[in-house]
Every structure is written in structure tokens, then in C-alpha cells.
Amino acid sequence: MNIVGEILTTAIPGSVAIAYPALGELISERGGVINLGTEGAMLAGALSGFAVTITTGNIWLGILAAVLAGAACGAVHAYAVVIRKANQLASGLVVWFLALGITSVLGASYNGQVVTPLASIPIPGLSSIPVIGQALFNQNALVYVAYILVPGIWWFISYTRPGLILRATGERPAVVFAGGHNPTLVRYVAVTVGSALAGVGGAELALGIVGNWSDDMTSGYGFVAVAVVIFARWNPFGVAIGAYLFGVCLAVSSVVQAQGIAINQYVLDALPYAVTVVVLVVVSAFGRNNAPESQREALSEIQ
């Protein structure tokens, strides 16, 4: 197999595990709420997805449980920041701590057990495209759903009325209120739905990729997802590019080593994070400022 194909085959599942929480965070931030609890929602999704799958033997019930667990984390954050007007950053971190603690206690007995991960489904025709066919179109179902979700969310926020209300809530909640809608409800729903997607990201990690649970298995990928949204200028296609770019950088290290190529390992390990920082800086310097207006202060683009 060629090296491009190998890197993509290795990278795509991990990229998707970042794309889900990033798309969720995009919905939440478009509604005006930053959710740093994304990492926690991924952990909750990963554990509940794994626990339900191993208990019931049905991986789809597991994914459903991951959605609900992610949504529950989001609902807690939304209650704190939308209803009780708590600080968004503080509340998000607390949700993460809580999820980290609870999952490591409840998950203790699941460490080391395994389930069969989601099967890869080759798509006839597309999977035989040279170089990239196998990498892109012989993956599990959650990967394909992620492919569709990107244009779907773009269409939703750009061309539908609920999407318009969501964006307006992120910009000027008072206008939405004057227009006869409830911005509080919109934000509550946006945060909860966004967090549910983070739960799916956790399920992709635990059930789609590895088929097991281990403590703190998200290793900070939920925070990367939050960074990806800013990097992507709150655009779903940008989010997809960011998530895939990060995933590819993560995979490069393994693939290059497996080829026996001598290269500085520590540079490779730092690559995904270095690329994220550089892109963030470059995009911020030259990009149009399209952060949701109600978030501009929090995201502190000093002008």
C-alpha cells in the first residue's frame, strides 16, 4: 500500500472521533455558549457506550447510550450557564472534572474488557478508487455518518429557519427574543445537542476504534475539538478540515515509524499541536472575524 493511503487509513477513524465533538462544539458556540466540558462528554459517551454494549451485546444501544450520556453532560453545563448564568469557562471545566472522576470510578471494573468494535463496511465502487478508496470508504458506519453530518450541519445553519434562529441567538439574543423566540431555550438545546455529538465522538473512540474502555482514554482530544472550532472560524467544512488535519498529524508518527524511517520522534509527537497553534495564529491574523458576537469578549480578540 502507498504511504498516503496508509496514513489516511490509520488517521480517518481518529479524525472522526475529533470531528464529532468539534461539530457539536460548533453548534453550541453558534448558539453563544463555549463548552469546555466537551472532553468530559466524550469520556461519558465512551464509558456509557462501552458499558451498555458489553452488558446488552448490542453496539447500537451502546451508541444510543453514548448520545444520552453526552447530552446529560451538556444539560448540566447548559443549566449552569444558560439558566443560572454561571461563567462558561468555569462551568465547562467543572463538567470535565466531574466526568473524569465519575467515569474513572464507575469505569474501574470495565478496564481491560473488550467488545468487537464496529465493523468496517466497504462501499461498493468508491472503495476501489486507487490510493484513497480503501482509506476513505472502507470504514465503520460512524465514519460515514460523520461524512454526511458536515454538509448537513452547514446546510442547517446556513439555509434553514431554525439554523437562522440558532445563529441569531449566538449574535444578538435580544433580537431573537424580540422576534418572538426563546433564546434561553435555543441555547439550552444547542448545548445539549452539541454535547450529545461529543458523546458520539467518545463512542467512536471506545466502540468504533478500539473496542474497550480505559481511564481518561480521550487524552485531551476533546480540548483539541474546541480548538478546531476556533481554527475553523465556526464553519462546518473548516471543522472537518481541522479534524482531519489533526488526525493525519497524529497518525503520521506511527506510519513513519512502521516504515522504519529515521525521524525525530518528539517533533512528530508535537506536530499535531504545533500545527494547530500555527493555524490558529495565521487564521486569526488574516481571517475575517466571524466569531458569534455574544462570544467575542470571551474569546478575546482584542481590537
Binding site: T10, F97, G101, A108, N111, V114, V255, A258, N264
Partner: protein
């Protein structure tokens, strides 16, 4: 972010300590009833059910309680991070009456040594230790010589591979890991001179995503037998199972996860050494004895806590026989898989002809042997 995480882990640790402290008040009644009971504490860095390093410790602790019966009371604490919380946990155990504490993670070393110095009545043992110089009278370290059993696992891998390509997934290029990779390749060469070992590191003792990516990348190179030096091994075993390839385990006998593809592995069996150390403390012979030092068990001395795991169903009988013959040969005093001549990848001599590397020699190994494909990360 890292700081925040440490805070979270610290908060968890404090909660654990509080729980332990709560136990102590309820346990005082039992303690006065029988004065001869020795309370023994075990502290683990990870989950007691990780099918890896920590589960092996937990199993050892359980065996101690079962074998020594009412003469000991075993208390355990798991998921204690390698920071100040280990000191708090040791103190909580002492408050519960513990007179012997086993600190079982590599990174506990400095905390364990400091605690021993400040608590002369408590005997503190560190698993995996590396103290040079004089030991306090109440402190000892113990470990098993890992590379010989790993070499036997390498023989199984070398005998079964069809592509002659083996994969080894490791965490960090520490000397212990380098010795394991070298031993694995040397073992494979004993039965298959063409076997090559491809190495990939994950820069983490347990990051499932990185482990899975490592397996995926190695599969791309045609590797058909995998081994590893990681704390948790479920991800690699599961990924190898999905791909229909073979696996050699480490730390724990996880044959049950994949009986058809599990070849063998190395598994810790700690109870014997735990019991010997506890016995020495009870008899008052610990100070100045073999455990009041840097104790290393090995196959050649017949007391290696790291043992050859059970064989899977796909290991042919003649290969099994070869491995067991080699194991018997390693049992002779002074023998080791690192018997010269052994050459590094660049052709330089690692172990000279006719020489046998000692455990201390292997601790300074810094090169991969001929037959290993890939390089160690250099800073």
C-alpha cells in the same frame, strides 16, 4: 490544561485518602482484638482490572491475603497518581495500622524512599526500584528480570510468523524497554533467522487511540505477529484479533481475550516475593537481608516474578518444546538471552563473544540489535 487535570486527579486522590481514613476508624476494634496481625498496604497507579500491570499487582495482593490467612490484613489503594497523593495514601495506610507498604509504580520511588526515611517503624518496598548506594534499614526494592521471558515470547513470534515481520509497540525508549525489544528479536532469531522486528512507539503507557494507530500502521507493513511494552494491552489484542493476526502479551496473561491468536507472553506473578518479604519483616530478618536491597529475580535463579504465560492454541507442539527447552537452559545459573556475540543495528558490538550481559549491563543498553527495523527516538 495540564494543571487543571492535575487538580482533578489530586481531588480524586484526596477523596480516596478520606475514604481510607474513614475505614481506619471503623477498623480499630478489629486491630486490638488480635495484636499479631500484620497490616500490609499495596498502592497501585492504575485500575485493578486493566488486564495488565496493575491487575497483576492486585492478584498478588489477593493471593497474599489467601495464603497468609489471618496473620495479615491486606489493604489496597488503586488509581493513585505518581505525585504527592501517594505520600498521603501511605500515611492513611499507616493510620490504619499498616507496617508494610508496597508502592508498586515506577514513579512512586522518591515518595516511597522519603516516606521510609521519615517513618522508621514502617517497612516500605518499591516495585521496579533503582536505588544505588545505601538503603535505609526499612526500605527495599524488588523487580524481575523481564528480558528472558520476553525473549521466550519472541521465539513463539518468530516460529509462527509467515511474513517474517514482527511488530513491537512500546511507550518510551527507557533501557528496560530497549532490553525487551532486543530480547524479543534475539528470541525470534533463535527459531527464525529471517525474522525482523518493526518498532513503533506511542509516547504514552496507555493511550488506546495511539495503540490502535500503531497496529494499523504496522499492518500496512505486512506485520503478522505483534507484541508490546504498554501498561494496558486490551486495545492491541483486540485490534490484532480484528485483523486476524497473532499476539504475544506482556504483564498479564490475557489469553482469554483471544485464545486463537494469543501465542504466549510474560506475566507477573508477584505473590511469592510479596510473601517472602512479609515473612522476613515478621521474623525481624528484613534489615540487612536480601530484600533490604535492590532484589532482582530471574529465571536463572529460579525466582523470577515475571513468568512465561500460557500458550495459545495456535502454537505448534514442536515450537512449544523448543521454547520450553530454551527456558530450561535459561534456568542454569549465569545464563541469559543476552549471550554474546550480539551486534547493534550499526554493526557495533553490544555484548562481546563469550560474554553474558548482567542485569546491570542491560540497564545501560541504548541500541537496538541487528534485525530490528526502526530507530529509537532521539532528542
Amino acid at each position: 490544561m495540564r494543571k487543571a487535570k492535575k487538580f482533578a486527579i489530586g481531588a480524586l486522590a484526596i477523596a480516596t485518602v478520606l475514604t481510607l481514613a474513614a475505614c481506619s476508624t471503623s477498623g480499630t476494634g478489629a486491630k486490638t482484638a488480635s495484636a499479631k496481625v500484620t497490616t500490609v498496604g499495596f498502592i497501585m497507579v492504575g485500575s485493578t482490572q486493566d488486564a495488565g500491570y496493575n491487575e497483576a499487582v492486585a492478584d498478588g495482593a489477593k493471593a497474599v491475603q489467601k495464603d497468609l490467612g489471618t496473620s495479615v490484613k491486606v489493604i489496597t489503594a488503586d488509581q493513585i497518581p505518581e505525585n504527592n497523593s501517594v505520600t498521603q495514601t501511605m500515611q492513611a495506610m499507616v493510620n490504619q495500622g499498616a507496617s508494610i507498604i508496597f508502592a508498586t509504580s515506577y514513579g512512586y520511588f522518591n515518595y516511597a524512599l522519603a516516606f521510609a526515611k521519615s517513618h522508621p517503624k514502617v517497612t516500605v518496598l518499591h516495585q521496579g526500584g533503582y536505588l544505588t548506594g545505601t538503603f535505609p534499614k526499612n526500605f527495599g526494592t524488588y523487580w524481575g528480570q523481564a528480558y528472558d521471558p520476553v525473549g521466550l515470547g519472541g521465539m513463539a513470534a518468530g516460529g509462527v510468523t509467515k511474513s517474517n515481520k514482527l511488530g513491537f509497540i512500546y511507550a518510551f525508549p527507557i533501557s528496560q524497554t530497549i532490553a525487551n525489544i532486543d530480547a524479543f528479536e534475539l528470541g525470534a532469531q533463535k527459531v527464525n533467522p529471517d525474522a525482523k522486528t518493526y518498532v513503533v512507539n506511542t509516547s504514552s503507557w496507555c493511550d488506546p487511540l495511539k495503540q490502535k494507530q500503531a497496529v494499523s500502521a504496522l499492518l500496512g507493513q505486512g506485520i503478522d505477529v505483534f507484541s508490546q511494552h504498554q501498561d494496558c494491552q486490551s486495545t492491541v489484542i483486540q485490534a490484532v484479533k480484528t485483523a486476524g493476526k497473532k499476539v504475544v502479551g506482556y504483564h498479564y496473561d490475557a489469553k482469554a481475550l483471544y485464545p486463537a491468536g494469543w501465542l504466549t507472553g510474560s506475566a507477573w506473578n508477584w505473590s511469592a516475593i510479596y510473601e517472602k518479604i512479609i515473612g522476613a519483616v515478621q521474623k525481624g530478618t528484613f534489615a540487612g537481608g536480601p530484600y533490604n536491597a535492590d532484589w532482582i529475580g530471574s529465571i536463572s535463579t529460579g525466582d523470577n516474578p515475571l513468568q512465561l504465560a500460557s500458550f495459545g492454541t495456535s502454537v505448534p507442539a514442536d515450537l512449544k518444546a523448543k521454547i520450553l527447552t530454551e527456558k530450561a537452559a535459561l534456568g542454569k545459573p549465569g545464563s541469559s538471552i543476552f549471550t554474546g556475540p550480539i551486534y547493534c543495528q550499526d554493526g557495533s558490538v553490544l555484548v562481546a563473544a563469550g560474554k553474558v550481559a548482567t542485569y546491570a549491563d542491560t540497564n545501560s543498553f541504548s541500541c537496538l540489535v541487528k534485525g530490528v527495523v526502526g530507530t529509537l527516538p532521539k532528542s
